[in-house]
């Protein structure tokens, strides 16, 4: 699995749709500037696409933060609607009590959202749940005490064995994996990062307990990538194993057309 770059609203969603069909999961990244609403866009159309988020958007002062907010919602809703075979305005992006975004009423597709600096990341899965996170790959974390707040004893030991020049990158990778997982389970930063960890790069990843023994089973899978040579992106995907994997010849849209029961009655 890899992260798919999306260059803007005009670009085809073919690669994303194929990944969701074939692998069940897709992670998309894009640049904030590619997803800002163009000058002169009909404000009513933008409001319709943003739905309930529009109110918050309208209240935000112009800032890079507001840019990320609007661009990430547009990217998420565009990606989800392409995969589901509908329009962004037909989907209601809502937030769980813990802040986790989801498409209300649509459990056929789970979504995840993250952004940092100029990068947006959206995760889509048709299995169970997904969480994504991104940070600038060279964000300074070492020697600020972050590792003590973010790593298990097992990870701290493993970190010591990583060559010094790669150690900060490794810490950023661990951090984004932890964020991705705790977002997937709807907890954000509430799950203490010192209480669960991950193994070294290159292994099949699973959540490890603080002493390095296995935590989660095969129902969870984890991925990390370096994208645009500048950002670390991680994803956590939960598949409870009901075998919803696409049958041969399965295709989009994922959202089954809701049949009007009145048509058979009349």
């Amino acid at each position: 699995m890899r992260s798919v770059r999306q260059r803007g609203p005009g670009e085809s969603w073919g690669a994303v749709c194929r990944a969701v069909v074939e692998q069940g999961t897709c992670v998309v990244h894009a640049l904030v500037d590619d997803w800002l609403p163009p000058e002169g866009r009909d404000p009513r159309a933008l409001a319709a696409d943003l739905g309930a988020d529009h109110e918050r958007y309208a209240r935000m002062p112009a800032s890079r933060n507001r840019d990320r907010f609007v661009a990430s919602r547009l990217l998420l809703k565009s990606a989800a609607s392409a995969v589901l075979g509908t329009l962004p305005r037909e989907l209601e992006l809502a937030y769980k009590p813990g802040g986790r975004p989801y498409l209300r009423g649509i459990d056929q597709l789970d979504v995840g959202l993250s952004h940092t600096d100029g990068l947006l990341v959206v995760g889509l899965t048709r299995f169970g749940r997904i969480g994504v996170d991104t940070e600038p790959a060279d964000r300074r974390m070492l020697e600020l005490g972050t590792e003590l707040k973010a790593c298990t004893p097992f990870e701290l030991e493993a970190l010591e064995r990583v060559p010094a020049e790669r150690r900060n990158h490794e810490l950023v990778r661990l951090w984004t994996l932890k964020e991705a997982y705790s977002k997937a389970i709807g907890q954000g930063l509430r799950f203490r990062f010192t209480e669960f960890g991950f193994g070294p790069q290159g292994e099949r990843l699973s959540v490890l307990r603080p002493d390095g023994t296995p935590g989660t089973g095969r129902e969870w899978s984890f991925h990390s990538w370096l994208v645009e040579d500048a950002y670390t992106v991680s994803a956590a995907v939960h598949d409870p194993g009901f075998g919803d994997r696409p049958q041969s010849g399965a295709d989009l849209p994922l959202l089954p057309v809701l049949v009007d029961p009145r048509s058979s009655a009349s």
Binding site: L91, P97, G128, Q187, R209, E219, F242
Partner: protein, 589 residues
């Protein structure tokens, strides 16, 4: 006439007393889950789970108790007379182990209920006899609109002489190999038909030819033996049909109101144990630990989970009792429970996991039951596909709503909301397939919301000194959401029939389910008993606020003292070993 009324009341009282006695006896027999010396203790259940089997001592206990009699209607010699009571008894089993509850309980019920709903007198008698003798049943239900390996059904039966020949496969059936009898839905030239056939474990060997696919390992309920069934021109002699050829869809419609709400209600037992385990963990931590009860994060997680369990139980209560009281609406209400509860319960587990931290992954030890429950619960809902048939029922109700509002609105009957009231009319399966003629819960919400306020003003923005105002405020939010929903449904239904429904209906179905859950909480509050915790407005305020939050309204916040009050009740129930549901049942002693 006086005599008749008295007799009815006495019968109801004795029926409720009998239910409580059975729950107490089963709890006593299982004993204390946390006692390391108990052969039915948590370590034994965890070891059985790791060994992918059901705990033999627990199966023997359930046989001795005669659990199967809970699934057999009274007139056929069993103890099934109230759907909510069935769920309460099974909750005792699910509190120990979901695999045991499914493998030694619910699975047989899911099959038998089709026979009660449409079998001949002889089929009903034979099935009752089989179950009362300790036999097991398994079932292949029709495939919902969205399939997965557990739900897909590719069985076809073609007429052959006076009977049929069955071909095809069903990938995953719990207890397939252990079943004495199978209920199979298959496509026939007349449409969907249901058959009652001898299973692989049939004592007379009549099910020898049934093909079994290899056991399927699952992430949760590992003790359940889930195998596939395969048939190749398998003979089904005359007399195996349930109802007439082509009756399958109708029978499934009758069965769903009897299975969906009750099954999820049983599963509340799993979440109950998970919450108790988490409280034990928090209690065991010293005051400066972030897991202790001194930490706001811990308190919030525990109170949130307790509140969610009460929401789920109010909805379960209504969804099960509706089969008796509001038969025409019971299909919709059971679908709401089936749609909403799996999501809420799985999120409850996630919310509790932050308290346990690393211990939430422990495979054994004092808290090992938490990880097992977190893996088991998703298996009960079966994910997105598991909810798809229920979602279709909700969408049909959304389209119907605008035409139902013309009916004069009267309150839903009080008996629907009273957990300990056994005065329910018997359930008549043939009534369950009728189209709903109203939406009693939604119709009642506005009236109740005014009532909860004690005035007709509604919508006060402050709670005042007591929690008395809190239910009113949260209820006003519910009413506002209901009005918006009605407007959206009018728009949805205004589109000409015969065209695909707008995808907006998905989000509306979710809102509808939440509003119904809120209405259930409000109804239980309105018809509350005179004393005890249910008479305290704090739980109504907390549950309604929680639902408002899920509907996207964050403005309503209960006072901090309300959360403290909930925590006090939570800890009291922990110390007194009582369940975290509407019943506050004494457990394991």
């Amino acid at each position: 006439m006086t005599t008749a009324v008295t007799t009815t009341v006495d019968r109801a009282d004795s029926s409720e007393a009998a239910v409580q006695e059975r729950v107490a006896r089963l709890e006593y027999d299982f004993g204390d889950l946390d006692d390391p010396g108990n052969p039915l203790g948590v370590q034994q259940f965890l070891a059985a789970d790791a060994g992918r089997r059901l705990l033999p001592a627990a199966e023997r206990l359930l046989d001795a108790f005669g659990l199967n009699a809970e699934f057999v209607p009274g007139e056929l010699g069993g103890r099934l007379d109230r759907l909510d009571a069935l769920a309460r008894v099974l909750r005792v089993v699910f509190r120990r182990d979901a695999a045991l509850g499914l493998g030694h309980g619910l699975t047989s019920y899911l099959a038998a209920v089709v026979v009660w709903a449409g079998g001949s007198a002889r089929q009903r008698r034979d099935t009752a006899g089989l179950l009362l003798d300790g036999g097991r049943m398994a079932c292949a239900y029709p495939e919902p609109p969205q399939g997965n390996d557990f739900l897909r059904n590719r069985l076809t039966a073609l007429p052959d002489g006076t009977g049929h020949r069955l071909s095809g496969r069903k990938e995953a059936v719990n207890n397939a190999g252990r079943a004495d009898a199978l209920v199979l839905f298959a496509h026939t030239p007349d449409g969907l038909s249901a058959f009652l056939v001898p299973g692989p474990a049939d004592a007379a060997g009549r099910g020898r030819e049934v093909g079994l696919l290899p056991r399927r390992p699952t992430a949760g309920v590992r003790g359940c033996v889930i195998e596939g069934l395969t048939f190749d021109r398998h003979p089904l002699p005359a007399g195996h049909l349930l109802g007439a050829a082509g009756d399958g869809a109708r029978l499934a419609e009758r069965a769903f109101p009897l299975t969906r709400g009750a099954g999820l209600s049983m599963a509340l037992g799993c979440a109950d144990t998970a919450l108790r385990t988490t409280v034990a963990f928090a209690r065991a931590h010293r005051s400066r630990s972030r897991a202790s009860l001194h930490s706001a994060r811990t308190r919030t997680a525990l109170v949130g989970a307790f509140t969610d369990l009460l929401v789920c139980d109010c909805l379960s209560l209504v969804a099960t009792r509706a089969a008796h009281v509001l038969p025409r609406e019971s299909r919709t209400l059971a679908a709401v429970a089936k749609y909403l509860l799996p999501t809420v319960l799985n999120e409850t587990m996630d919310d509790l996991s932050i308290v346990l931290g690393a211990e939430s992954y422990a495979p054994d030890g004092s808290y090992g039951v938490f990880r097992r429950t977190a893996r088991d619960l998703p298996m009960i809902g079966l994910g997105s596909a598991g909810a798809s048939a229920s979602r279709a029922v909700l969408v049909a109700q959304l389209l119907r709503l605008p035409s139902l509002t013309a009916a004069p609105a009267t309150d839903a009957p009080a008996v629907l909301f009273r957990p300990f009231d056994a005065g329910l009319p018997p359930c008549r399966p043939e009534d369950l397939e009728l189209t709903p003629d109203r939406d009693s819960l939604l119709d009642s919400v506005e009236a109740w919301a005014r009532d909860a306020d004690g005035t007709a003003s509604g919508g006060r923005r402050t709670y005042g000194d007591a929690y008395g105002g809190a239910p009113a405020e949260a209820a006003a939010v519910l009413v506002a959401h209901l009005r918006a929903l009605r407007a959206d449904c009018a728009e949805l239904a205004a589109r000409p029939a015969g065209h695909p429904v707008s995808p907006r209906a998905y989000a509306l179905a979710d809102r509808y389910a939440l509003i119904v859950a809120g209405a259930a909480c409000l109804g239980v509050w309105r018809h509350r008993p005179p004393g005890g915790f249910l008479a305290d407005p704090v739980w109504a305020a907390m549950t309604l606020t929680r639902i408002a939050g899920r509907l996207g309204t964050r403005a309503v916040r209960p006072p901090a003292s309300a959360a403290d009050h909930m925590l006090t009740e939570l800890l009291h129930r922990f110390d007194d070993a009582r369940s975290y549901d509407l019943y506050s049942t004494a457990i394991g002693r």
